[in-house]
């Protein structure tokens, strides 16, 4: 959930509202969001499923160190969503191993 009012922080310096897609579904975020923050605000917890054990992973360190939150962004896999700024029209996909979900 987004923080609407904070006792110490006056502004989070967000720009205008923009739309992007997550697994084909349209979502909204703000300029100035990281991809991970926009997804978190939209309630998305799972960013990827691991290659070996197929276990879900999400945000862990949020500063680009642990690489747990990587996803497929505009077709490119392994993008660290916590340090990548959200852009209008971005196509973000859950990553399975290093690929998008296979069509069954």
């Amino acid at each position: 959930m987004r923080i609407s009012e904070h006792p110490i922080i006056e502004s989070y310096h967000k720009g205008k509202q923009i739309t992007f897609t997550f697994d084909g579904k349209e979502l909204t975020g703000y300029e100035g969001d990281s991809i991970a923050a926009a997804l978190k605000a939209a309630g998305v917890m799972v960013h990827r499923y691991t290659a070996k054990q197929h276990k879900p992973r999400g945000i862990f360190c949020a500063i680009g160190r642990c690489t747990d939150c990587v996803m497929i962004v505009n077709g490119v896999p392994n993008v660290r969503t916590c340090v990548t700024p959200l852009e209008a029209g971005m196509q973000i996909q859950t990553q399975y191993g290093v690929e998008p979900k296979k069509e069954d």
Binding site: H6, P7, I9, Y12, A37, A62, I63
Partner: protein
């Protein structure tokens, strides 16, 4: 390949400070940082810093960050962002990833200021989404403006765990518990106390054994541990949380020093593997230096001074400072560092748990270490905490020797004294008058100063306390006064609120309570 007199790696507090110092001395310096914004982790620190008044104490971390950035900009320090240093090679050649390309630079000197990474502890389910680092929580709530969760278990009671827990409350989250495998609260007692009085429970000698859930955390199982830190069967307790936040210390990010073939050693007091350094911060490879957390885990305040100190040595070696100029700068920086490295929580005392009394000879509160708050009986041993006189006056519940002194300058009448040694506990000068202005209350980074008036009204006393939450109470509001462990003790009415720019968003709130609760009431909760 491009050549610079000094390459600084990392634009956090240490790196920026180093670059500022070098640039001021006339050096050609370039800073690389892999992030899109400079400042390292300073911008997510929204609490007031400890330390001496001369070195940013009582200023919030992000404001120190803004000041540092402005200083760097005004001087024209060149900071290359989105620039990941990949490796350091022979002759101080550095490869940097910029714009998806590998660029080569050579530095006559290099300062590594790459900071630290968070430690983690593994437990069943620790890779389920919803288990996060404490730094991640800070980034989400303080930079991105998104709550990291709604109900949070904090694992770790060091300063990071305590500070982040408080910030979670400020962001509107619920902190279900703070746990630590150690039998004592690891961080400053004042940080623990300001959480305990809001009602956050502390479970010491406890660890997290399992994160419940499949695609997201739906609960946490904690258990008591024995003296070998092993969970005791049968003591498990399930907590209803959606987020588990891990704050179990930091490790220096020293890979670049290792890559540059510097002699390394695992030094537990410094938090992990660090390069062996000379007194000036130089590694075993001539011209390569380390500053800040990568040299050993400390506070941001020390990192900033270290950065300047190291860069002054580099400047001297490069001929930009005479030996005398360097000596005098170096002495000044070492004195400042020396002040910050005193007290019970000093780096040299890391891991020590045998303190039984303060430097002044007062017995240390055991309840504070075990539960995060102090009993009235324990506080009565501290003169400034049990001070009584007719009319309004301060009560200072600061009971550990930590390097901090803004309170003594906050009072215009000189009522509070810390003295030369900034780890001394503040003392109250009974001769000096208190006007009840509340500046000391707002100035205390540990939120440990209260104003008390036992003669407020017939049968009633007033208690004034710092308040940094929303919604802000209004005059005339009625609710409950909470004691130091967050338990409601009596009815309370808000009778005063002060918020001035100099208080920097710490509101100073006064409540009226029945006289008999004057020594118990320390916080307020609105009637729901």
């Amino acid at each position: 390949m491009k050549r610079h007199e000094l390459i600084v790696i990392g634009a956090g507090p240490a790196g920026l400070s180093a670059a500022i110092e070098a640039k001021k001395n006339g050096m050609d310096v370039i800073v690389f940082d892999e992030n899109q914004r400079p400042g390292g982790q300073l911008f997510k620190q929204i609490h007031k810093f400890f330390g001496s008044k001369e070195h940013h104490a009582k200023t919030r971390g992000f404001i120190i960050g803004q000041q540092l950035l402005k200083e760097a900009e005004d001087l024209g320090v060149r900071v290359e962002l989105d620039s990941t240093v990949m490796g350091i090679y022979e002759n101080k050649e550095v490869t940097v990833k910029q714009n998806g390309e590998v660029h080569h630079y050579k530095g006559d000197a290099i300062i590594i200021a790459t900071g630290a990474a968070e430690n983690m502890i593994p437990f069943k389910g620790w890779n389920i989404p919803g288990v996060i680092g404490a730094g991640a929580a800070q980034t989400m709530m303080n930079i991105q403006g998104v709550q990291p969760g709604s109900k949070i278990l904090m694992v770790g009671s060091g300063n990071v765990g305590l500070v982040v827990s408080f910030q979670l409350l400020q962001a509107g989250c619920e902190v279900a518990a703070i746990i630590d495998a150690a039998p004592r609260v690891g961080g400053y007692g004042v940080h623990a106390a300001k959480l305990a009085r809001t009602g956050v429970p502390f479970y010491l000698s406890h660890t997290v054994v399992e994160a419940k859930g499949t695609d997201r955390v739906t609960g946490a199982v904690i258990a008591q541990v024995d003296e070998h830190f092993q969970p005791i069967p049968g003591t498990e307790k399930e907590l209803d949380v959606d987020t588990i936040c891990i704050a179990v210390g930091l490790t220096p990010m020293s890979q670049l020093a290792s890559n540059a073939t510097c002699d390394m050693e695992l030094i537990p007091q410094k938090g992990g593997h660090v390069a062996l350094l000379s007194e000036y911060g130089e590694t075993s490879v001539e011209g390569i230096y380390c500053a800040g957390d990568v040299a050993g885990i400390e506070e941001a305040s020390s990192a900033m001074i270290q950065g300047r100190s190291v860069a002054s040595h580099v400047s001297m070696k490069a001929g930009y400072l005479t030996e005398d100029e360097f000596e005098s700068k170096y002495q000044g920086y070492q004195e400042a560092l020396g002040q910050l490295r005193q007290g019970m929580f000093a780096p040299k005392n890391k891991g020590r748990n045998d303190f039984t009394e303060t430097d002044e000879g007062y017995p240390i509160s055991k309840t504070l270490l075990a539960h995060g708050y102090m009993t009235e009986e324990e506080l009565s041993k501290f003169p400034a905490a049990s001070y009584q006189k007719a009319g309004i006056h301060p009560v200072i519940e600061c009971t550990q020797n930590i390097p901090c002194n803004p309170c003594q300058d906050a009072c215009h009448f000189g009522c509070i004294k810390v003295g030369e040694n900034i780890t001394r506990l503040p003392a109250i000068d009974e001769e000096k008058k208190c006007t009840g202005c509340g500046l000391c209350v707002a100035s205390c980074s540990g939120q440990a100063i209260f104003l008390v008036d036992e003669t407020y009204e017939e049968g009633f006393a007033s208690v004034t306390f710092p308040y940094e939450f929303l919604p802000m109470p209004k005059i005339g509001d009625k609710g409950k006064a909470l004691d130091r462990q967050g338990k409601p003790v009596c009815d309370a009415e808000i009778v005063g609120i002060k918020k001035t720019p100099i208080m920097d968003k710490t509101a100073v709130v006064t409540m009226k309570v029945p006289l008999e609760y004057v020594h118990a009431a320390r916080f307020y909760r609105a009637e729901v």
